[in-house]
Subunit: 137 residues, 2 copies
Amino acid sequence: MVTMTAAQRREREKAAFDAYMDACPTHQLMGIIGNKWSTMVLMDLAHGARRYAEVSNALPGVSAKMLTQTLRSLERDGFVTRTVTPAVPVQVEYTLTLLGERIVPLITSMQEWADRHMDEIDAARKNYDDGRHLASG
Amino acid sequence: MVTMTAAQRREREKAAFDAYMDACPTHQLMGIIGNKWSTMVLMDLAHGARRYAEVSNALPGVSAKMLTQTLRSLERDGFVTRTVTPAVPVQVEYTLTLLGERIVPLITSMQEWADRHMDEIDAARKNYDDGRHLASG
DNA sequence: CAGTATCCCCTCGGATACTG
DNA sequence: CAGTATCCGAGGGGATACTG
């Protein structure tokens, strides 16, 4: 089946690339901090230990479901420690691990980059959108 | 209606926070580079100008739809320049803008962080998953 | 207080087919 | 070559209601 070789090689390259993407540390990191609440939670915990309700108050937009889900992911990935103190009612405290503290500077550098360049991005968007509407008229 | 004050203040805080999130440069940046193909495209273009098919070949996993969509977004946001050369067939070349070149170091630093810490994250995940299965047994 | 469970929408992204 | 158009499934994320 020599005729299929090209398509087959395509298939193999794609499969290999997909596997590479799944294993790629950068994309795994994106999966961790790329969702809506992770960075916000991380940056809030960077100020010190917080209880569930405290994080919830600091982030008025987050639903209980997403806060729990975000916290659980961060715990599983080793960024956050969850400490339960038996009491009535039960107390739960979240703190950054060492790994959690180590990602803070990275997030900070992303914030700084964003702050420095967002004006330029906004300008580019306006420029592009104006060009489009002219082109269509 | 003094009785509604607490709930109303909640609503207002949430609305204000939502507005803040939408305007937050960091989250806008996440929206730009947080999707599946943006960083890959950016890093490919960092090596020099590329034609559509060249990027497509460099990234065997991307569909035409997503490649076009990613390229268009990056163009709109000012990271990429699209140059059409009238010919038969038409030639289209993509290059990084100055803004595009300026985000490369940020992506590189994310890659380096990911490479340095992914082992630790994997270990944390295994640890967490083991703990869960013990807790459930 | 600190969640869990359920429903539901909406966007992201892939597959396929077609075009100048 | 460099796309566009359409359909579709997966899952991220919100609203609501309930619980130890």
